[in-house]
Amino acid sequence: MADEQIPVLDVRGEICPYPMLKTNEALEGDHKDVVTLDVLTDHPPALSTVPPQAMKRGYEVEIDELGAGEWRMRLTKI
């Protein structure tokens, strides 16, 4: 799996509701046609707020912990 081809939305440093707002904006705007989008966050609540919004837009979500307090949410269009 070629990580470098997957577009990344980095919302580290942002707290609620911005990780969610920016992911929604990306899925409806700039990254509208992408199949997979990686969202990076260091805000734990985003792990439970972003997935429902992404699923509503037809994506499935896989969460991986990258290090202390940082996560990658991989959104893939179903």
């Binding site: 990580d3 580290r12 440093g13 942002e14 707290i15 609620c16 509701p17 969610m20 707002l21 260091d42 805000h43 734990p44 609540p45 792990l47 439970s48 707020t49 997935p51 429902p52 919004q53 699923m55 509503k56 499935e60 979500v61 896989e62 969460i63 991986d64 912990e65 990258l66 290090g67 202390a68 307090g69 940082e70 996560w71 990658r72």
Partner: protein, 418 residues
Amino acid sequence: MTTDSLSLDNEKPNALRPVSGQTYAGLTVVALTLLAALFISRSNGEVAAIWVLANVFGLTLQRARFCFASAFRDLFLFGSGHNMKGILIGMGIATIGFAAIMNWIIPNPGAGFLPAEAHILPVGLSVVVGGVLFGVGMVIAGGCVSGSLYRMAEGYVASWVAILGVIIGLGALTLTWNWWWGFTISTEPKVWFPSIGGLGYTGAIAITLLGLVAIYLLVTFMEFKNGLFMPHINKKIVPAMNFDDRVRSTLDPIFKRGWPVAIGGVVLGILGIVMYTIHMPLGVTGELMRASQLGLGWMGVDVPVLDGLSTLGGCTGRSGESGLLGHTFAITVGLLPGALIGALFAGEFKLRLPTQKRRYIQSIGGGVMMGYASGLAIGCTIGAFFSAVPSLSLSGWVFGLAMAAGAFTGTQVIKRIG
């Protein structure tokens, strides 16, 4: 790139995973906070008990990611009632316990006395203005007072700024309190459901629980209308292959993964009851009020004698408990090590600096609004809402509705800030 996985899909299920540095730091904080409790207990056992309960309070807020700001905001922003449902469940549980305690203090609620220490606050313009202002402030700052307190311990620098704002706001309220007292608060009634027209405890509990259920259904309906899916996150379940995995499969749901918000609500409801049994319901702004008045004193500003405070309960600054190790100190400061322990065991502690400068302005501005508002309403989301509704007080409902209106307004503001 990926090191460890949150979703149990560890590539080598048989490998012993190292205990992280954050876990050791967490154990150290556990030892230190228990030592502090031991030290406090030498002068005051009750305060020591409150300190330990406050540790659990902070741990619960952190683990369940309990967030009043998101509970109100996300209803309007995304049609999500996730956090609000947890809060409603917690208040429902606390209602039963609070009623039992109040029934023990005041067996005859029609006799004209109010139970001491219950958060039965004046209802009037002050609560409405305070609620709306608080609602706007918490959405702009990205967290209410209790939320900002536990995020301070998780390493959010913006939350330190927000709490500084709260203290400044409480200072401004201190200087204008006597005007508000004369203008409206002195004539505002304290409405306690059990004392009204023969309702008694049974009627008051019924009204409160029916109200909570009605709002729960309304929230569920809002979710349904917004077509919100419940998340189904990919989880590869790996069978526990060795002792290490078995231990982790027991501990991870408590210390590693976040708690379901409903569990958080249940624990907070029970904590509120235990806290009230010992002395008084949960509240966090009393200590910040004290801090703001100390600050005013240091700056050489005369702190006026605040009218009417002795007739009010809730989160007012308590003259009798002004010591460093008073009750309000134990609750507010005690939640910090609890939240820190939660963050460290989960490996979530991180010094987080906002990437955009305007977030600092949002934090301080929202903080000042919340501070002024929580002084005016005599409590924040915890003291004037989460502890007031179970006190069978009308003020909790009015404050909650006003906060909803404020949160709606705040949502419009942050949509424009971006």
